[in-house]
């Protein structure tokens, strides 16, 4: 009896260092940010209680955050939706394409290394790379060089300087970075598929295309969902790529939610306002958190 009691209390000693850090840096700050989001004014320790004013202003009266009265709608919220849709489907689609096609060729490791490489460099370095690729300067920007090579009448396009293009340009850089992640996970899943099932379906007369959609895809549902969730989380949290590539510009056109929090607090000095943005971000993230917990629970039940 005594030893068991001692063992039980002993377990906590292993947890306490991690526990203290997690409470100090993650749990307490989230609660405090929620509290701060009800305050207004400038300065790092705001004292003016404004209730829900920050949220009301963000959702109804901040044209850079959410503008619905004009078509197409715009603002950081809309841009984030654009990120979630295009960035997730782009990285997932290309990653899947490479995972499946490269499986059949001898130079598979080389292609995969090339596509994975951007995953290991910093978003800061990737931003420099893409400012370089997108440059409208004739001796710098390779994208414009290719396009004006094909269409000689075309003027070099300032990809990051034009309001209508900037989001797609930054999302393109995001896809360049994260396709490697999707490819790696999906490739591992594809290689672990039961090849006999695939062969059987081909014997039954399915062509490669049908075999992929009807057999491989359903068998890979779990890793696909995992990657999709990961990419959605990444779009919601995204910040440094936008900060270094465009600083949210031109004229706020490439702002997303994760970036807006940083900009309002650390550039504009609006601590309460930025905290409200952070809480909106957290609220949007809760479904993902719940799905994550459910997945782990289900997995533990199997064990």
């Amino acid at each position: 009896m005594l030893t068991r009691a001692r063992r039980r209390s002993g377990a906590w000693l292993y947890i306490i260092p991690a526990g203290i850090l997690l409470i100090a840096f993650l749990v307490y700050p989230v609660v405090r940010t929620l509290w701060l989001s009800f305050f207004g004014g400038l300065g790092f320790n705001p004292t003016e209680f404004v209730g829900l004013d920050n949220y009301i202003r963000l959702l109804t009266n901040d044209r850079l955050f959410l503008k619905l009265d004009e078509l197409p709608p715009s603002g950081a919220m809309i841009n984030t939706v654009l990120w979630i849709v295009l960035f997730t489907s782009g990285s997932l689609g290309i990653g899947m394409l490479v995972a499946v096609l490269a499986d059949k060729v001898r130079y598979e490791p080389i292609v995969k290394a090339a596509i994975f490489l951007p995953m290991v460099i910093s978003a800061t370095a990737a931003s420099v790379i893409f400012r370089f690729v997108y440059s409208p300067d004739r001796t710098i920007g390779v994208l414009n060089a290719v396009l004006t090579g094909i269409f000689p009448d075309l003027e070099p396009v300032p990809w990051l300087g034009r309001i209508s293009l900037v989001n797609y340009a930054v999302i393109g850089a995001g896809i360049w970075i994260f396709t490697g992640l999707a490819m790696t996970v999906l490739s591992a899943a594809y290689k672990s598929l039961d090849k006999e099932v695939l062969e059987a379906s081909q014997v039954d007369g399915a062509n490669a295309w049908q075999a992929f959609w009807r057999v491989s895809m359903p068998m890979m549902a779990q890793p696909i969902v995992f990657v999709a969730i990961y990419l959605i989380i990444t779009s919601l949290k995204m910040i440094d790529l936008v900060l270094v590539m465009t600083e949210g510009g031109p004229r706020g056109a490439s702002r997303i939610i994760g970036f807006t929090m940083y900009w309002e607090v650390f550039n504009n000095g609006l601590v309460g306002y930025g905290s409200a943005v952070a809480i909106i971000l957290l609220v949007l993230m809760t479904p993902v958190i719940i799905i994550q917990i459910r997945r782990v629970r289900a997995e533990q039940a199997l064990r």
Partner: protein, 291 residues
């Protein structure tokens, strides 16, 4: 079916297969190039002189071989990327070791020790894995200001340690749980303590998982810009990511400096990647398959 017809059907089939193969190669090589050309172009640019860069595109000058390392020397000395390199190490190494040690203890308890609330705690860790850092920065900075940790190395070490813990605990706990139960039973029969089991069985058997985690955490910290931007407000302690950001602010169109600077920051992660690629891949797939 005559032999003739059968043979021509065979040829048609082979032709379809060959075309399919051709399409596969075109798609893969095309994508490979799209992924390599941006980095390659910047690398070539980093080796060209400023007047050369202004005179012609790097793609026209690939085989002129008028390359120089002058840009690298200028960036390392005059722009102090040398100092940034050292700062990046000072920040990254403790920020890699601390979360692994602290996380390993917690992961061990969550995997093998029995205590009340264990499962709830693990679910809390999963939830924290997704919490955006944006919701923590302001209160943590206020706390740092209170304890004079803003702009200090211990401050940024603490921040990176705490922010790295959820992933460290998650990855190690999942690995520890998979270790064979018999080892623990027989060690207990031999009278080993929990701590003895941890050091003599769990840690030695988990070297691959710990290596993957170390590589992840190291590159994550090395590549971090935001935490350095927020917590390390002292130019003398800036890591390379901040040096690059400053360079962009001051010399946004001086591509000979920007290109060389970017490659100085990328050198470390690229070295780690090329020497330890399989640990990287293992770490990513472990998170996916088990999580």
């Amino acid at each position: 079916m005559t032999t003739q017809a059968r043979r021509s059907a065979g040829i048609a089939e082979r032709l379809v297969k060959a075309t399919n193969r051709g399409v596969v190669h075109i798609v893969l090589v095309g994508l490979g190039l799209m992924w390599l050309v941006p980095t390659l172009g910047l690398f070539v640019t980093s080796l060209r002189t400023r007047p050369d860069i202004a005179a012609s595109g790097w793609w026209t000058a690939l085989f002129q071989f008028r390359y120089t390392v002058g840009n690298y020397l200028e960036v390392l000395e005059a722009r102090n990327f040398g100092g940034g390199f050292i700062n990046s190490f000072i920040i990254s190494i403790p920020s890699t070791i601390f979360p692994i040690v602290i996380g390993a203890f917690a992961a061990y308890a969550l995997a093998w020790l029995k205590f009340r609330g264990r499962d709830v705690l693990f679910l809390a860790v999963i939830a924290m894995l997704v919490v955006p850092l944006q919701t923590t920065w302001v209160p943590v900075l206020q706390m740092f200001n209170l304890f004079n940790l803003t702009g200090t190395y211990p401050g940024i070490w603490l921040a990176h340690t705490a922010y790295g813990l959820p992933f460290a605990i998650f990855l190690l706990r999942n690995f520890f749980v998979g270790l064979p139960k018999e080892l623990f039973d027989s060690a207990k029969i031999d009278g080993a303590s929990d701590l003895g089991i941890f050091f003599r069985i769990v840690v030695p058997l988990s070297v691959p998982a710990i290596a993957s985690l170390a590589i992840f955490q190291f590159t994550w910290v090395w590549n971090d810009l935001m935490n350095a931007l927020i917590f390390l407000q002292d130019p003398a302690k800036y890591p390379l990511t901040r040096s690059i950001q400053n360079l962009l602010g001051q010399f946004g169109s001086e591509w000979h400096l920007l290109a060389a600077g970017a490659f100085v920051t990328m050198s470390m992660p690229l070295l780690v990647f090329f020497s330890l690629q399989r640990y990287f891949v293992r770490g990513i797939t472990a998170g996916a398959v088990k999580g």
